[in-house]
Symmetry: D2
Subunit: 352 residues, 4 copies
C-alpha cells in the first residue's frame, strides 16, 4: 500500500486477498469459486457487495449461454444490479469514501468518444458493462467500479432498494425518453418488475393516467397497488383508441408492441424497453400518419442521483418488488426463482 | 359584391361564375367539366391556378380509387401542388392582395384543437386537405384557400417552382424532423422527386454527406447532379455500417427501410416519408440498442416561408424536376406521364 | 334565435338583455353600471361569471390608470381570473355546452400569425386579453370567450380554484420554461400569490428542493406550508452558492433578481415572472460564464387542461390562497384588499 | 522510452529535451525562455506547435495581468488558438498518430463531473484551459493535449485556419445556442474577428439575413465581403424593429447589447459572446414580454469536427482573417498588433 499507481493494491483496510464468487462456468452451470479480489485502478473504488438483484438478462445468460452477439465462452460472473459498501479506494480517490454505502452504476464508458462527450455515454461503443461477456458482474464478495459510478446512499435507502436502482434507472430513462411530464397519459405493456417500476417512474414524472396491461391478473392487481392507475387485461381489453401520450413496452411481446403503438395519440412517443425478437412487424403507416416517435432504451445515463432522491422521498418503492432472498451459494436458485408464480425479483446477498 | 359577409360573392374583379375543371369521376375515369367557381369565406382568397404538380397520391387515387381509408365515392378534383394568382378576396382579407402571385399550402386546419394550438396543425384531426376525399383539389381554374395559407412569391420564383413548394415542404419537414444540421451525414432511399428534393433540402440544412440509393442508375446520376454527394445502387451497394446521423426513406420499399435503419449511427434518426405497406417488419433490437428514433412525416407545418426563401436564394432548384407539361384538358395524360422512363414531375396548367 | 350567424343573439336560455358590471371609469374611480350583455360571435360562449380573482395588474390599472404602453383612456372592466357557467353558445358551438361549469382562459389570439401557427399564441401580436385596454374583463355578470378557451371543470374544483387557474397557469408556464423536472432544485423569489403558486407548480413538476425567499416571515411560513421545502429571509440569508437548477423570480425586485441569478448552477435557467422596472442591471458575465438561460413569461399557452387535472388530483391547492371575498358592488374594496397584512388573494363574485 | 507509464518520456522521435517559449513574466513583460518540453501523460499527445492565433484574452492578460478572478501571479505562457503536428504520443495512444497534422481544442475537462457526463464539458468546474492561470498555453514549441482533443486536419486546411478553429468554435457554439437554422434572420454586433466568424458560422447554419453592426466602416465593408448580408453603422442605423430571430453580441458594448436585444422578435434568442462589464443594464420587461431567451457562450463543446468540415468544404474561410504574422520571438509585437487600424488577427509561428 505504498506507491499510488494503477497497479497498487487497494488503499483500504481489512480487504482480503481472495473472495468467494458464484460463477457461470458455461450455459446452465453455476459454481462457487474462490478468486482473487479484483485489483483497483487509480480512479476506482472496491465495493464489498451487499445485495444483487437478479435480472432477466442474468437468467438468459444462464439458460442460453448468450444474448445476441454476446456469448459466454469463458466463465462469467453474473449480476449487475448491486449495492454495497466501499472497502478500498484507488490512488486518485478520496480515502474518506471508505466505509460509505453506495449504489453502483455498473458501466464503464470510455469518456472520450463522440457519444461520451455528447453526454450519451450509454451509447459508447467501447463501454464495459457488468455481467456482459467478457466483463464480470456482482455475484461476488467484491467488485470494482469507477468512483463516480458509485453513488452514496442515505440510511433510509435499503441495500435491496439501492441494488434495484439499476432497473429503476431503466424505468426513469424510459420515461425521460418517452417525454413523460405532468399530466401525461401513459400505457405500459407488461406488469413484471420493469413494468411496475416504469409505472412508478411515470408517476414520479407527473403522469396522471397510467394504464398497465398484462395477461396475469395477479400482476395487474399488484401493479394497481404500486404505481398504475388503470389495469387492462391484454387478452380481453383493447387499448386502441386510448390515445395516450406515450407507450412504454415492458413486455417484449410483438403483439403488445403493435397494439400499444395503435394506442398512441398524434405526436406521441413509443419507447421499447422489453427485449423480444430482433425483428418485429410494426404499423408503419399508423406511425407516419400520426408522426409518432418510436425508439428504445439501451441502459441509461445519469439516472442514479434522481433515483436515490425518489426512493429517499418515498416517491418510488422498490422494496415491494423483492420476492426472494438468497445467499451467494444459492445463486442458481435465485436464477431459477422467477419460474415460480408470483415472483418478481430475487436478490442475492454475497455476504451471506 | 356589397355586403361583406361570409356568404358574399368574392371581392375581386373579372371573376367568372363558372370554371373548367378536370374531375376524377371514379377510379380510372377523368372528365373535363364546367363547375361553379367556389364561394369565398370571409378569411379566404380565390386563387386563379397557374400550375399544378402531379403527385404520386393523385396517381394513386386515379388508378385505385382510394388511399387507405380515403375512398373516392364522389367525383373529386385532384391536385394539391399549386401556385397561382389571387383573383378575389373574402370580406376579412385585405383587397390589396388581389393580383398577387402566390404559392398555396393546400390544407385547412381547424385552428382550435389541441394539436393546432400546440403548433402541430398538420396533425389536426379535423383538417381538410386538397384532393383528399371529399375535399377538392387544384385541377381547376380556381380554388379557395385561407388567406394565410396563400404565400406571396417573388418574381424570381417560377409558377412551377411555386407549385412544387408542396413536395419541397415534405422534404424540409423530413429534414427538420430528422434533425439535419450543419455537418450531418444523411442517407436517402429513393431517387424519385421526393428523394431528390430531400437531398436538396438536406444540403440546405447543412448536411455535408448526402448518400442517395436507388436501383435506377439514371435517377442516381440525376440526383448526384442535384443535391446528393454520393450515389449507391441499392442492388449492389450495402449501406450497413455507413453510420449516418439520419436516414430518410423516400422509397416506401420495406427492404430499403430495413437496410436504411441499419445504416444509422447510435442516437440517429429515421424518417419514413415513402408510403408503402401498412405494416413493415423493422429491426427493433437494432433500434433499441442504438436508441435510434423512428418516425414519419404527415405533410408539414410552417414550411412555405423557408421554402420560398431557399428557392429565391438559389439554394434549392425545383424547376429541374419538371419533365412534362400539360394543359388542363390533358390531365389524364399528366397522371399517366410517370410511367415513362426518365419522368420525374408532370405539371398541369389550368389556364391552358 | 333563428339564423345562426355571427350577429345572432345567443343560443341559450334565460339570458337577460342587460347586466351589472363594475367599471373602472378612470384612474382610481370605480362605478357600478348596467350594460348590455355582450353579443356572441359564432365560435364563442357566453359565460355567467361565478368568481373573479383580483390580480396585481388589476390593482395597477386602478391605481395608476396604465401599465406601460397600455393606458385606460376609456372605461374598462377589470378582472381576468375567472370561472363561471355557460349561459349561451354561438351558432357554431354545440348547445350541449350550455350549463357547463367552466374555467376561462382570458385571451383571444388571432390563430393565423406566425406565432399562433407555431404554437406560441401567447406571443400573437394581435391577441386580445381580458382587462387590458381596450378589452373588457370579468368584473361583470357575463363575458364572452371563444368556446375552446372555456374549459369544463369537474365538481371537485371550486369556483374560486377554477378562477385561480389563471395565476396557476403563470406558475405552470414558468416551471415549463424553467425546465423543472423530477429532482430539480428551484429557488423562487417572492412569497406572494404567484410565488406560492409557482412553488406548488414546481412540486407538481417533480422539483424536490424548493427554496422560497421573501422579507415577510409570515409569508415564508405560509409558503412552507403550501409548496416550498425551504424558506429564506431575503434580508439575512444569502442565496449565492445554492447552485439551483432554476430560479423563478416572482418578486419583481431588482436586487432579488440579481442575487437569484447568482444562485443558479451552470446550464441552469432563470425565469422572470415578476414585473418591476423596465430595465434592470444583470450580472452578465456570471450568466455568460455559466451559460445560464434567462427569460420571462408572458402569460401562457395550453395550460388549463393540466391545471384542472392538478387541482382535481389534489396536487395543487388554490383555495388556500383566498383571503377575501367580495360582492360585485364591492369590487373597489377587493382592489384595495391587498394593502392589508396577510392578504393574498381577493375574489369578487359577480352573482352576489 | 521503455516503460509505458504516465511518467514515461514521450513515445516519439526527434523530440528534444528543451524548447523555446515566449513567457508572460508579469503584467506587460514578455520574455523568451528555454524550458523543458512538457511531460506526456498516458492519454496525451505532444504537439509541435505550427501556428497560434492571438486572442483578445491574451492581449488582456498581457496588458492587465488578469481577467476577472484569474490573476497572472506566476509566469504564464499565453496562446490557446493553435495547430501543429503530433511529435510524440503517451503510452495509451496509438503511435500511428505521430506525424499527423492537428488542430488542438485547448481544454482538459475532468470527464467525471455532472456537467461532463451530461455532455457539457465546457462547464466542468475543474476544467483546465490553455493560457488561463495557472495553465500554460501555446506560445512555445511544444504543448501537450489529451489525444481526443487533437483533431486530424486534411491538407486543404492551412496551419493558420486550423489554429483559428478555436475562435470559429466560439462562433459555431454561439450559432448553436442561438438556434440559428435555415432561414434564420440574425443580427451580430461587432465586426471584429469574432463577429466576422459568427457571420460565417451563421451562414453555414443556413441564416439568410445576416446583419452586422459596427462603428468602423472598413470593418463593415470587410464583413460584407466575408459572411454578412447587411451592414449597419451602429452610430447612425437603428436596429430596433428588425425583429430578428437571433442576436449575437460580439462587441461587449453595453449599448450594443441593449439595442440588439430590442431588435429581437418574440421567442427569439440573444447570445452574448463579447466580454465587457460584469454587470449590464438590460431591457428586462422587453425580454419578458417577448419571452426572449438570453444567454452567453463559455467556450464550446464538440465543435472541432464540424469546424474542420466547414473549412475543408469552403463554407468558412478563416485565412482571410490573418493580418499579421510573427516569429515566436516577436510574440510581444503580435500582442500589440491589434492596436493598428485594419488588423484582425495576428498569428505567431513557434517554429520560426
Amino acid at each position: 500500500m505504498t506507491t499510488p499507481t494503477a497497479q497498487s493494491p487497494a488503499l483500504g483496510t481489512d480487504v482480503p486477498a481472495t473472495m468467494r464468487a458464484s460463477v457461470l462456468k458455461r450455459q446452465g452451470e453455476m459454481a462457487m469459486e474462490t478468486l482473487d479480489v479484483p485489483t483497483l485502478e487509480a480512479d476506482q473504488v472496491l465495493v464489498q457487495v451487499a445485495a444483487v438483484g437478479v435480472c432477466g438478462s442474468d437468467v438468459h445468460y444462464y439458460e442460453h449461454g448468450r444474448i445476441g452477439d454476446y456469448v459466454v465462452d469463458h466463465p462469467l460472473i453474473l449480476g449487475h444490479e448491486l449495492s454495497g459498501r466501499i472497502a478500498a479506494v484507488g490512488s486518485a480517490v478520496d480515502p474518506a469514501r471508505i466505509g460509505q454505502r453506495v449504489a453502483v452504476e455498473p458501466q464503464r464508458p470510455c469518456r472520450k468518444c463522440v457519444q461520451c462527450k455528447a453526454g450519451r455515454y450509454n451509447l459508447c461503443p467501447d463501454i464495459e458493462f457488468y455481467a456482459t461477456p467478457p466483463i464480470d458482474g456482482a455475484f461476488a464478495e467484491y467488485v470494482t467500479i469507477q468512483s463516480d459510478f458509485a453513488y452514496d446512499i442515505p440510511d433510509s435507502v435499503s441495500d435491496e432498494a439501492a441494488a434495484l436502482i439499476e432497473p429503476l434507472s431503466v424505468g426513469l430513462w424510459a420515461c425521460e425518453r418517452a417525454g413523460i411530464r405532468p399530466g401525461s397519459r401513459v400505457l405500459i405493456a407488461g406488469a413484471g418488475p420493469i413494468g411496475i417500476i416504469a409505472a412508478q417512474a411515470a408517476r414520479a414524472f407527473g403522469a396522471t393516467e397510467i394504464y398497465i396491461s398484462d395477461i396475469a391478473e395477479d400482476r395487474l392487481a399488484f401493479a394497481l397497488d404500486h404505481g398504475a392507475t388503470h389495469a387492462l387485461n391484454a387478452r380481453t381489453d383493447s387499448v386502441e383508441g386510448l390515445d395516450v401520450d406515450a407507450f412504454i413496452d415492458a413486455s417484449g411481446a410483438p403483439q403488445a408492441v403493435r397494439s400499444g403503438i395503435k394506442a398512441v395519440a398524434p405526436a406521441g412517443r413509443v419507447i421499447l424497453v422489453g427485449l423480444g425478437a430482433d425483428d418485429v412487424e410494426l404499423p408503419v403507416s399508423f406511425i407516419q400518419n400520426r408522426e409518432i416517435w418510436v425508439s428504445g432504451v439501451f441502459r441509461y445515463t445519469n439516472t442514479w442521483p434522481l433515483a436515490i432522491q425518489l426512493i429517499a422521498d418515498g416517491k418510488v418503492n422498490l422494496d415491494i418488488l423483492v420476492t426472494g432472498k438468497f445467499a451467494l451459494a444459492d445463486s442458481e436458485k435465485a436464477l431459477n426463482a422467477g419460474k415460480q408464480p408470483g415472483q418478481l425479483k430475487a436478490v442475492v446477498y454475497p455476504g451471506r
